[in-house]
Amino acid sequence: MSSVVDQQVETFQEQFKRVQQQVSKVIVGYEEIIDGVIMSLLANGHVLLEGVPGLGKTKLVSTLSAVMHLKFSRIQFTPDLMPADITGTNIVQQSGEHKILQFQAGPIFANIVLADEVNRATPKTQSALLEAMEEETVTVGKQTHELEPPFFVLATQNPIEMEGTYPLPEAQLDRFLMKLKVDFPSVSNLHTIVNRTTTVKEPTVERILGQGEVLQMRKTVRSVPIARPIQDYAIRIAMATHPRPPYAHALTMRFVRHGSSPRGPQALVFLGKIRAILNNRLYVSCEDIRSVAYGVLRHRILLNFEGEADRIDTDTIIKGILESTPETV
């Protein structure tokens, strides 16, 4: 019995490592980002990547899809993009003597969807993603179409050039399992990037993971047990993001309008389980929860007026929460 578990863990670790290595062939640096994206995919979540243009966000997603035997589609969000441009629409087609309405699937019908510059589309268009992200279904007219698993949305947004953009509403933000910040690469990483992309031989990746493997890995993740004290720790961290006693942190009380939804602790536990397996453990530890807390909670904390005025970074609040929340009560 135990050998089965060990084998599952070993397989998981190996497959994860292979994907990681393949993506790292193209994407220089950003190991944490790469890990976060893969972990979100395995946790059945979606990722919001935030960074200035040119950092390779889109390249990361396209590389990831290239590594996996999964259907990939890219949607460039623009202000004039319509919901039907994403979900698809019913079109009239001649069938013999009759004309019938036939559904023409949009680009959302893929396994990996890159929603590039998602904040440039109108809220109406952005909302077209809501149902797909949560329910993994698309309803057009009277018909609901199921999306093929795994369904993984990777959205990017630019934190600058906010003019003419539509910030994502809280409801949509909450549907992203993680929000990862893509920082500017270091000098040494820039050298590597330049060397790799300006020579004759460009790096190529192999397709190593198919749909079945991804779904099996997701199943493995769900098998990892978590003890109540650790789960309690994750919940207390999520509760501390709310400006209400008894769990609220001082910074939360002062700067936060609204904290994490129940999706927050769910994401903490899910990602904690993946991290536990990657660290060759069969259980989730408090350290696992802490390590994924920033990515999980930073977009789930809504600042109040004072927080916005003082330009408080939600990472600062999360840091305060992690430092003040005891592992055991």
Binding site: P225, P229, C286
Partner: protein, 451 residues
């Protein structure tokens, strides 16, 4: 041992080790605090020895408090969950034991959980509890040891009042309660003895004969009055007589005193003997008289205390010794009498000062003091030659009350200095005296009842 037993055994060991270390630390802190309190009590005892009963009571109270503290702390036990969390952190096991222990208490059928418990048990076997929680001697134990040594050392300090508690020594049981009754007559005995010696030496001077007689009889107040009278008439004395008096004062000042109460009077006598100018000897003699007056009042107060104590004291407590009572002769006059058992103080003649109402008694005391001040004031009007009038005028504002009309006094003081001098100032040491005087002469009769 099964995996479960291994984990539970580890947690129990860790819990016991943590509890032992905590208890050792807390108990040494408790010992330090108790001994610190005992040391303070011992230091107090060095200056004012306590009876065995008091020492025993304090020791028992401290022992009981420490025992209660110790029992309370010993009863505090940590949980195995806490031990699991602590050993995880200490041995860097990343919540492995904590998780396994939780799953042991909340079993589920999962191969992952079984495997996790197996791994945790393996880790538990490898945990070195001695290394994680070594048997350390807490720093507080050094403090406790230091307090023990200090306490022991305090008991062996070679001072007359020190009693070694470790050898079950303490002050005599009745020392503190009997002190007012026993020590007061003995003090007076010693004082009277010294005063007789002083009187013998003062007899060498013809001028101080009366003073010496009064002192020899123990009438210190009368001796003070004699000395004042002599000071007022010192202008009529010859230089030989003054020299003789100085020599007598010097001899008297050299008397070996048995009691500190005599210190001021003898010191004043020494200063009188050192006074070179005849004009100055008056001041010094008046000071000596004042010191004698104060001594008389002290003796009177002591006599009243001893008497009132003995009045309410049982026969068994009163040793067959001598007590001194105030006679009718006036304040400060001492008379020896034997107290015969209970109520020995009641042998004092009726109408003695001790029998007077408190207000009148205070008034009589005040009379003597104010008399001394009045003598100083009147002195300015007597014994001054006419030819010294100009000097008198110039010194009038500097010394005592002047007999010259203030309008005739030419002053070279600045307005600021005048303002300062015009302020009514009562010397601090006389405030209580004056207040007591006015309280004593206040009408005590009851007026018509108010409706």
């Amino acid at each position: 041992m099964s995996d479960r037993e291994v984990i539970i055994q580890l947690l129990r060991t860790v819990e016991w080790r943590i509890r032992a270390n905590r208890l050792f630390h807390e108990l040494t802190v408790g010992v330090s605090v108790v001994l610190a309190a005992l040391i303070l009590f011992k230091i107090w005892d060095l200056y004012s020895p306590f009876q065995a009963v008091t020492i025993g009571a304090v020791t028992v109270i401290l022992a009981v408090l420490f025992a209660a503290f110790a029992v309370g702390r010993i009863r505090v036990k940590g949980t195995l969950e806490q031990a699991a969390a602590l050993i995880d952190r200490k041995a860097d096991l990343r919540d492995e034991i904590k998780t396994a222990f939780w799953f042991l208490n909340n079993p589920r059928s999962s191969v992952w959980i079984d495997q996790q418990i197996q791994r945790a048990a393996k880790s538990a076997r490898n945990v070195d509890v001695q290394r994680a929680y070594p048997n350390l001697i807490p720093k507080t134990s050094y403090i406790a040891a230091a307090t023990v040594l200090l306490f022991g050392a305090l008991n062996f300090i070679p001072t007359p009042l020190n009693h070694n508690w470790l050898m079950l020594q303490a002050a005599a049981p009745d020392n503190r309660t009997a002190k007012p009754a026993l020590e007061t007559p003995l003090d007076r005995e010693a004082i009277l003895k010294t005063l007789k010696e002083v009187a013998e030496r003062l007899r060498a001077s013809e001028l101080l004969g009366e003073t010496a007689d009064d002192l020899a009889q123990g009438d210190v107040a009368a001796a003070a009055n004699d000395l004042r009278t002599l000071a007022e008439q010192i202008g009529d004395a010859t230089s030989d007589q003054i020299a003789e008096a100085k020599a007598a004062f010097a001899a008297a000042a050299a008397t070996k005193k048995d009691k500190a109460e005599l210190e001021p009077a003898l010191q004043e006598m020494a200063q009188t003997s050192e006074t070179a100018e005849d004009e100055g000897i008056y001041e010094e003699m008046m000071e000596t008289a004042q010191a004698l007056q104060e001594l008389a009042e002290k003796l009177q107060t002591a006599a009243q205390n001893g008497e009132s104590y003995q009045t309410g004291k049982s026969t068994d407590d009163t040793p067959s010794n001598e007590s001194v009572q105030v006679a009718d002769g006036g304040p400060g006059q001492l008379k020896k009498s034997n107290s015969n058992g209970p109520g020995g103080g009641s042998n004092a003649p009726p109408g003695g000062l001790a029998q007077l109402p408190t207000s009148l008694e205070a008034k009589l005391k005040l009379d003597v003091k104010l008399e001394a001040q009045a003598v100083r004031g009147v002195e300015a009007n007597k014994g001054q030659p006419k030819e010294k009038e100009d000097e008198e005028v110039s010194q009038a504002t500097k010394k005592e009350r002047s007999k010259v009309d203030y309008r005739d006094v030419k002053s070279d003081l600045s307005p600021a200095q005048k303002d300062l001098l015009n302020q009514e100032h009562v010397p601090w040491e006389y405030r209580a005296l004056i207040k007591g005087y006015f309280q004593a002469i206040r009408p005590t009769g009851t007026g018509p009842a108010k409706k």
